[in-house]
Point group: C2
């Protein structure tokens, strides 16, 4: 046995199939199997296959033909040629329901509400050819299984094959919320970029787009009844999301098992509203900005004003009704007190009502949240709303922990459900240098760069009691776009954002050592599918699992 | 006077034309001027216009039509509409030689040798319409002037205009070497990516591509007479540069005023040669790699072997003859001594010749450099060859300082010309996290990320005497590609690499505060031309010069 075969004995026989996220249960064999030239995906025993589900099956069929991904080995599969070409053929994949003959649409299941969904599935790919079987209780389960099926195969000279049949998978997510957050305010992203991102998210079973759609810099969302805000506050009339765009994005997402949780960040992060509604904004464009905001431009909603409160509640009602999701974020981060201290109107409003700033914030928050609760939606907020302010929140409220992972326990202690989004693990924008001007040696505020390994190694239940651990609904990586735009969206996000996708699907405890070869596969497959994922290592390393490990 | 017009009084009237790099002399007025719909670029008094120069003029004409770059102001130029549409028109740009009627081709001038070139030009754009005049002594000078002319204009509803006529420029570079280094070994880049990069380089007057074409991980360069190296050492038969590709790249570069300085890094960084020539490589793929190399895989040329020395000299002769450049780099960085200590053949070679390792390295270096000197080429080496080793080098040798800017003075003290390439200022790959596997908290070895501000603020003559300062031929930013590939080439390089382009063209002392608005312009114009430069700031900031400065 030479070195290479010893190497292979160690690695090639492990169930290292490039499935991402790692299934809960996976067994593989060592029999080559190839797809028949007439391979097809079929539905069995389902009365009326929803069109979004049959479309998903068609996309999977298409990827099987177009991925053309060679195996990540030094010879890219060439030495397996005779085994591949003499392998038995798989003629079809059959999709079945575990019981019953009817199934909801994938889109309706995707948006029906956090924690109500059943994404489990099981998949059998036999070694002796014939048909593979994918079964689930729901359309969503079948969709997740299709995604897995699409990751089993490599290409060799036009033949689509695996060397590891039979393959058995039973799978279900560890957490119901697996997200990705995109900020479309600091810089604008065309609809096509968002759709491509949704595709990529679905390939690693991410099921929530947290869309931080507006902020102080620009307001690209055209909200019916509030058109003037984007008319004056979008970067241009072309850099907007129309109601039709939103519908398009939302349905595109839902058809890929993704719920779109939009955010109108309030009462801070709203400077741009001053362009159309100066009466509602305190300290608009105030300088020096550093005294009035965490970044320019300064400007916050006058939440002590009853008129502003009504305006905001109506805005949130109108904006949230554009999205079918049961989740909607009202933000609540980084309130600047000095802005209000210096704002005569706010001081007058407080005085006339005999309220403190915190009491006024409570009134405001209850008003803006009640429109969501009335609509059967769950308010989502950034952590300051429970850790820094004295506001009454519905028990249903979900809290995004962002400032530090150290704050998780404090949020859980308050009894709120929470989404992991901590900057010290999950911020994709960190480490790109300071973006503020006239600052030669400025570094990123959240240095260093957050590697995929960092996100991957996060422990979602660290420092939590068993009861508190149940409050964790999942987590996400996030892209704030001060230094990002369409030019670097793909490479700054992928394959890094797959790290949290696996963490919150497969559960914690994954090993970066065995994950890396699979993550290379994700990146290389994404590139084949038109998503510009970066190379995590020299290709030499990507083709030789383990050879570039620190101790290799 | 309201706040906005006060703001404009301060900024809008300064000669902030978005020319990058900043010309040595620039005066501007405040008269609107637009290009005639029949605008053309003409040559006057030149007997036979070289085709590469007339092609360059055609490209400039094309960019004037296709850039469609709106001014970076909040209203994107709309408020200037009547001024623009009633402006006088410029009918043509006339290119002239300062004396004589004949001119060399741009391509021949681009490759004729460092320091022999005259890139100076002058440009007059009158305020009253008519014709602009660009004059120079050389094709290269005319080309640089065309590049400047292409940066003067914005688009408003299909009209190409400036608000700052008349414009006078006299210009010439501070340093003859302004480079960009690309590593095509760790990950491969298709020819189209390299050509797009050459285009982008030329737009900011970078005149050298330092092409680190091969390394330990892969050998994509097909060298005539040494085809077996790339046959076994390229990542695949598709991931190669054929002699025809090289010719294509070299001539594409030369036609854009760029000389291609190739590098065959020796004797280290050569592990991959062991695939075709195991007899020439010590410690191939030795493990643990960290004891034998700075990164995997280990393997270095057996420079104590006369046969290996001859092989290498012939390889360098063949490779260097593929490139018309007078510069060729033989590398010489990061030699690992342990590799040779443990290599029985090297120890035997040393013993039989009665040489120390350093003496053998001297013999090897003289042999490999003499083939360059014989061909009239200048050897270029990394700094270790003068600071860490005892080898005799021709006085002509140029040294790349990379380990630290602190090493510049020591290199200059030895009397060698030098190129600034220090990792602490110019490495574009730093700050992306550690790429070595099984290393959860690994950071980039050269953290933090090197911002454009960092490169821009470098002082090329710090700690040098006046005489030593004359040894500085220029500098460059560099992209090592362990974590880069075609997916992130543009966004990791641009607009950052424009920082050194201005530093070494315009000379040191530029102010990041006034540079940033112009650099936004570079980035936005690059995007219009198909190069995916990133957003350095939120668009809100890009449209409001100074408003996002740290002290604004």
């Amino acid at each position: 046995m030479n070195f290479l075969s010893l190497f292979c004995a160690f690695l090639c026989l492990t169930p290292a199939l490039a499935i991402w996220p790692r299934p809960q249960n996976l067994t593989t064999g060592s029999t080559p199997l190839r797809l028949s030239s007439t391979f097809s995906i079929k539905f069995s025993g389902i009365k009326q296959v929803p069109s979004d589900l049959s479309d998903a099956a068609k996309r999977t069929s298409s990827f099987l033909k177009t991925d053309k991904l060679q195996s990540l080995t030094p010879d890219r599969g060439a030495s397996s040629s005779s085994a591949v070409h003499s392998a038995r053929t798989l003629s079809s994949l059959t999709l079945k329901l575990n019981s019953g003959a009817t199934v909801n649409s994938l889109s309706s299941e995707a948006t029906q509400g956090l924690g109500t969904q059943d994404e489990s599935y099981s998949l059998q790919v036999p070694a002796n050819g014939g048909s593979a079987v994918l079964s689930a209780n729901t359309a969503l389960g079948l969709f997740r299984g299709l995604t897995t099926f699409g990751q089993l195969w490599y290409d060799l000279d036009g033949t689509t094959y695996t060397l590891q049949a039979p393959i058995q998978v039973t799978d279900a997510p560890a957490y119901p919320y697996r997200g990705f957050m995109l900020d479309t305010s600091r810089n604008y992203f065309p609809v096509a970029d968002i759709k491509r991102t949704l595709d990529a998210m679905s390939w690693v079973k991410i099921n929530h787009l947290h869309w931080h759609v507006v902020d102080s810099q620009s307001f690209p969302l055209i909200v019916p009844g509030f058109e003037e805000i984007s008319q004056k506050g979008a970067y241009s009339s072309a850099q907007v999301y129309t109601p039709a765009d939103v519908k398009d994005i939302v349905s595109y997402a839902a058809a890929r098992g993704i719920d779109v949780m939009a955010e109108i960040d309030t009462p801070g992060h709203t400077a741009v509203i001053s362009q159309s509604h100066p009466e509602h904004i305190a300290c608009p464009d105030a300088t020096p900005w550093a005294q009035f905001a965490n970044e320019p431009p300064a400007g916050q909603l006058r939440f002590a004003s009853p008129a502003t409160t009504t305006f905001t509640a109506n805005l949130i009602k109108a904006a949230s009704s554009m999205f079918p999701s049961k989740l909607f974020s009202t933000g609540g981060d980084e309130l600047n007190q000095n802005c209000y201290t210096k704002d005569a109107q706010t001081q007058q409003d407080l005085a006339s009502q005999g309220k403190t700033l915190e009491q006024a914030l409570d009134t405001f928050t209850q008003a803006t949240h009640s429109v969501l609760l009335d609509a059967g939606k769950t308010p989502v907020v950034w952590e300051e709303m429970v850790l820094e302010h004295q506001v009454q929140l519905s028990n249903e409220t979900i809290v995004l922990v962002w400032i530090s992972s150290d704050d998780v326990a404090a949020v859980a202690q308050k009894g709120f459900r929470l989404i992991h989004a901590a900057s010290d693990f999950f911020y994709l924008d960190c480490g790109g240098g300071g973006w503020v001007g006239a600052n030669i040696n400025g570094n990123s505020w959240c240095d260093p760069f957050k590697t995929w390994q960092k996100a991957y190694s996060f422990n979602p239940t660290a420092n939590l009691t068993d009861d508190q651990a149940k409050l964790v609904v999942g987590g996400q990586q996030l892209l704030w776009t001060e230094q990002s735009g369409p030019s670097n969206l793909d490479p700054i996000v992928w394959p890094r954002a797959a790290a949290s996708a696996e963490l919150f699907w497969s559960g914690p405890g994954g090993d970066v050592r065995t994950a890396l070869p699979r993550l290379h596969d994700v990146a290389y497959r994404f590139v084949q599918r038109g998503v510009k994922a970066i190379s995590l290592q020299p290709q030499w390393c990507a083709l030789r699992p383990g050879a570039c490990d620190i101790d290799a």
